[in-house]
């Protein structure tokens, strides 16, 4: 059976897939999302939470470009908490726990209301390649879906093996089959593959937990939402419980380490450093007598709780034992045991910066298949892969975000240039331009671009323009008023009497200034919205540092503007060490800037590459 032809086929309905399908359709491509089970689209496989530090920044950026994760998180958010609230704006990360069911429903609703997007239920068994390019996919039932580009977002489904103690089952997620045939197809392409592992904790019955004994963590009174289109939470907020492991818990676990899939030697894959299993925590932080656990309700009407902090691959009986040793969980019922999953991933150095697989033009990879961990990291890649697959189908140039522009740019550059040695997760410290890449200014950085690309709707466009105008007006009012140090002091601002005149923005930059003092000096500032005032205060705070970094960014831009043609032959460049030749051939950098970031690159080698580019240009001129 032949389906209609599509421009883009997205394989997989997880976070990367949903975002990719929506983005491709928004970009005007006729898109199909193929998933093994329609009703699992938008499922959160692990922690029922979105955002955090670094991750929250990614979600804001996805939203700024018209993506769906932010809106879905807002519609299902039941415990919004802004992390690092008391720290500087650049390192504040929005986060929320979500009602699983509402999140899934929101994603499915957003997908079904998107024009140009069809959902096909089925398993993709093979990719169809003709004349070296993707031309369609073949389903397990033999049906063929012709298309011009494919986005593969299979997450943990490729040769996924689930481990509970020494019990192994094949699966992409508990209750779901793995994608074995597709994995075989990818292996046949001879792509560099690796194997990773990740873990999840046991799920507990909420009504079997002694909540009244426990400390509770409430939601923020003044929540920070994800989407720039949201004003307030959509559903009621709840608190989550906090408890701790204790010595008894640790003893039970230590005695049974050999029965753990990860410690018993059953799993080969490399695990993440930063959300280790409880086994890892006990072993590596042996002198810590207790570890914190957050008891996160999975939904408003749900009886399931996700205990954040005790991921495990110990056998079920051990899980029962150690859970019951925990304060408040003495009678807790385990609804679903915790497990570890190992899965294949593709070395992302085989991708170009648009996330297209160099070996198979037209095939894009996004999400955990590229070695990342986390919904947000997956969704951000999905957004870019979806966008770029659509543009490929339309014969338009791909969109590449730079490290100076977005966390999305930082992540993709890290992946395709350096590869992954362990599951990649976003942190704010990965971004050199952290002070400019703030969660609060994601729209200012990206919505304009998204508008040019035609991937945002009119509601967002109007809101954005109104905000930018208000900001410009506010800035003008502030910059237009100048004050002597004495005048500033009179308003209560602690300032050196250095005789220098300063305008409103300069004064706002002082860290102990409050807006009331500015209002006293510049009454016209009062008329602006709370949001505009706060935004300008943040801008003022970081102004000098951002300008200082502008210079570095300029050098970066210059090197990014120097393209390296795909036809360059590194083997031919005399003077390049074999080691560097190998790396260059593996990564195939598209700009001099990207080449410079390759591990071990020397100035001499860069000079040689540049000189070869010039020579080639002259020869072909």
């Amino acid at each position: 059976m032949k389906h209609d032809a599509f421009d883009v086929v997205v394989i997989g309905g997880g976070h990367a897939g949903a975002e990719a399908a929506h983005a491709a359709a928004r970009a005007g491509a006729k898109t199909a999302l193929v998933t093994m089970r329609k009703e699992t689209i938008g499922v959160m496989s692990c922690n029922p939470a979105i955002g955090g530090l670094g991750k929250g920044h990614l979600v804001r950026e996805i939203d700024a470009m018209g993506g769906i994760m932010g809106m879905a998180a807002d519609r299902s958010g039941i415990q919004f908490r802004l992390l690092n609230r008391r720290k500087g704006p650049a390192v504040r990360g929005p986060r929320t726990q979500s009602d699983r069911a509402l999140y899934k429903a929101a994603i499915q609703s957003l997908l079904s209301s998107q024009e140009g997007l069809s959902i096909i239920e089925g398993e993709v068994a093979d990719l169809i390649v003709s004349k070296g390019q993707i031309s369609g996919v073949e389903l397990a039932d033999g049906a063929v879906v012709p298309c011009r580009a494919v986005v593969l977002t299979t997450g943990t489904f490729l040769n996924g093996v689930i481990h509970i103690g020494d019990q192994q089952t094949v699966g992409g997620r508990i209750g779901d089959k793995p994608s074995v045939r597709l994995a075989e197809r990818l292996r046949a392409l001879d792509l560099p593959l690796g194997r990773l592992k990740t873990g999840t904790p046991p799920r507990l019955r909420a009504s079997s937990i002694a909540w009244d004994k426990l400390e509770m963590q409430p939601a923020d009174e003044d929540p920070a939402l994800f989407s720039f289109l949201s004003d307030r939470p959509y559903v009621r907020q709840i608190a989550c419980g906090i408890t701790h492991t204790n010595q008894q818990t640790h003893d039970i676990i230590s005695e049974n380490l050999s029965r753990s899939a990860m410690y018993g030697g059953h799993i080969a894959g490399v695990g993440p450093r930063y959300c280790p299993s409880i086994e890892d925590k006990i072993v590596r932080f042996a002198d810590k007598s207790s570890h914190q656990i957050f008891l996160e309700p999975e939904g408003l009407d749900s009886d399931t709780v996700y205990p954040n902090g005790i991921s495990t691959s110990l056998p079920e009986d051990v899980q029962h034992a150690y859970v019951h040793s925990i304060f408040g969980l003495e009678r807790a019922e385990i609804l679903q045991p915790g497990y570890a999953i190992e899965y294949d991933f593709v070395d992302p150095q085989s991708l170009d910066p648009s996330l297209q697989l160099r070996a198979v033009p037209g095939l894009f990879l996004a999400g955990q298949i590229n070695g990342t961990t986390g919904y947000e990291e997956a969704a951000a890649q999905g957004l870019m892969a979806g966008l770029n697959s659509a543009r490929l189908a339309q014969a338009a140039a791909p969109v590449i975000l730079s490290r100076a522009q977005a966390y999305i740019g930082v992540m993709i550059d890290d992946l395709v240039t350096r590869g992954v040695a362990e599951p990649y997760r976003m942190f704010t410290s990965r971004a050199e331009y952290r002070l400019s890449l703030r969660a609060d200014n994601a729209d200012q950085r990206l919505t304009g671009l998204a508008d040019q690309l035609g991937v945002i709707g009119s509601a967002r466009r109007e809101r954005f323009h109104a905000k930018m105008e208000d900001l410009a007006a506010g800035r003008e009012v502030l910059e237009g008023a100048r004050f002597t140090p004495r005048e500033a002091s009179a308003a209560g601002i602690a300032i050196n009497q250095d005789g220098q005149r300063r305008n409103g923005m300069d004064l706002l930059a002082f860290s102990d200034v409050d807006l009331g003092q500015i209002d006293a000096l510049i009454p016209g500032f009062r008329q602006f919205t709370t949001e505009t005032r706060a935004q300008l205060a943040t801008e003022a705070l970081y102004k000098t540092y951002v300008e200082r970094q502008q210079r570095d960014a300029a050098a970066l831009q210059r090197d990014e503007a120097q393209a390296i043609p795909a036809s360059i032959n590194y083997g031919d460049i005399g003077g390049l060490s074999n080691e560097l030749k190998g790396k260059l051939q593996r990564v195939k950098p598209t700009t001099l800037a990207q080449a410079g970031r390759i591990d071990g690159m020397t100035p001499a080698a860069l000079a040689l590459i540049l000189s070869r580019i010039r020579q080639d240009e002259r020869r072909s001129a």
Binding site: G52, L53, G54, L83, N84, R86, K87, G88, A90, V91, R95, Y274, H291, Q292, F427, T428, S429, R434, L435, S511, Y545, G574, G575, S577, T602, P603, A604, A607, L608, S611
Partner: protein, 427 residues
């Protein structure tokens, strides 16, 4: 990348001269001249011939394979007889292969730098080593050339990166269990690095003087015997380095190796209230030159009534002269007591040099000052508490960048041209 060549030894007659060829065609050129090259890292005696087969010289040929060479490229070195004619002939033969060009000043070292064999401070150390005339200079240059600056930068870097990591942990892992109070350790680390930098800066002045030479001004009223003293020092058996003609009448500067330290003794115009305007200019200049010098030695004619003589500058050592007439002090004319004077000067300078550290170039001082300024600001931000964490992290990173610039890890281009101008061809 072109293949380059140059004479590595000083031009002029000598027993042996070394010609160095570096680059992709180095081996082929070597074969053309010598017939057969030895194995990499080996030496062989060969007859060098030109393109017509005429014998140029019998020479020792050394061969190096990239990356195991000074420049990191393929290298061939020819040790020929050091006659001007032989050198010229061999250079001509090399040039005639048309596969090579003459090296620019410092180009070999530049390639070593670009290929990662040397860092920027090592390049400076090498330059200093070549320029070294005294033992103290040699030792100092050796330390720098051996990578002393890189070791210093590395220690500081490790400490600052640890501080940065602690700060980053409080930012990126705020919702997990990380020791919340990292301030004592971060504070201690920043202080430690500031201390290290201060030690370098304190020793900078002395180090810079060792490299470029101390100035000892001989001052005093007219006819105290200053010029006589200078001439006497110039005529002694201590290693004389150079005699530079002075810019004022009767001025002599003598540069000597004083116990391993490079010292220039300066004669100055006699200090008195001058009668004419021109002489007054000379006197003013004498005072200012003396004020700029590292040490001031005052000579007073012991055989004359001086009354109250005030030199107008701080004096470090004072001697009565003409002891041949008075029996006290020194005699510049006959040389009595000059040994003691030189020992006194040497002792004074050695004391200063004892605090000398690695930083000896202006470029070092600037990088260190920059790093220190960033760290001092970082401390202020830090003391303000939580809300500056991301700015603190930025300052720490920039401080690491400033220290990295000591060895040229960052933005080398701007500095390279200036340093390499110091080098002579062949190195």
């Amino acid at each position: 990348m072109h293949t380059i060549f140059a004479l590595a030894t000083a031009r002029g007659k000598s027993g042996v001269a070394i010609l160095r060829i570096s680059g992709p065609s180095a081996h082929e050129i070597g074969v053309r001249l010598a017939g057969r090259l030895p194995l990499a890292g080996h030496t062989a005696l060969r007859r060098l011939r030109d393109s017509d087969g005429a014998l140029l010289d019998e020479a020792l040929v050394l061969r190096f394979d990239a990356p195991r060479s000074f420049t990191g490229e393929d290298v061939v070195e020819l040790q020929v007889h050091g006659s001007i004619a032989v050198i010229r002939a061999v250079e001509a033969a090399i040039a005639q292969t048309k596969m090579v060009r003459m090296a620019e000043p410092g180009e070999f070292t530049r390639r070593a730098l670009l290929n990662g064999h040397l860092d920027l401070a090592q390049v400076e150390g090498l330059s200093d080593l070549i320029a070294a005339e005294t033992e103290a200079q040699r030792k100092q240059a050796q330390q720098l050339f051996s990578g002393g600056m890189r070791d210093f930068a590395e220690i500081c870097r490790i400490e600052l990166i640890r501080a940065t990591a602690l700060i980053e942990a409080t930012i990126d892992f705020a919702d997990e269990e990380v020791p919340v109070d990292v301030s004592p350790e971060v504070s201690a680390l920043i202080d430690k690095v500031i201390g290290r930098i201060d030690a370098q800066l304190d020793g900078y002045h002395a180090a810079e003087r060792v490299r470029s030479g101390f100035e000892v001004a001989i001052i005093g009223p007219p006819n105290a015997g200053k010029s006589t003293l200078i001439n006497k020092i110039a005529g002694r058996e201590i290693a004389i380095i150079s005699e530079i003609a002075g810019t004022t009448r009767d001025v002599l500067e003598v540069r000597v190796d004083l116990d391993g330290l490079p010292v220039t003794f300066l004669d100055t115009a006699g200090l008195r209230d001058a009668e004419d305007a021109i002489e007054q200019i000379g006197v003013t200049r004498a005072r200012s030159r003396a004020a700029d010098a590292d040490v001031r030695v005052l000579l007073i004619d012991g055989s004359q009534e001086q009354g109250d003589f005030s030199p107008g500058v701080t004096v470090d050592l004072r001697y009565m002269t003409k002891s041949d007439l008075t029996g006290i002090g020194i005699s510049a004319l006959h040389g009595d007591g000059i040994d003691q004077l030189l020992r006194d000067v040497s002792a004074l300078l050695s004391e200063r040099v004892s605090g000398m550290t690695l930083a000896s170039h202006e470029r070092h001082r600037q990088a260190l000052e920059r790093a220190k300024a960033l760290l001092v600001v970082a401390k202020t931000v830090f003391q303000r508490g939580d809300d500056g964490a991301e700015i603190l992290a930025l300052h720490l990173r920039d401080a690491v960048g400033a220290l990295d610039s000591l060895i040229g890890r960052v933005d080398v281009e701007a500095v390279l041209g200036e340093i390499f101008a110091q080098f002579c061809i062949g190195k």
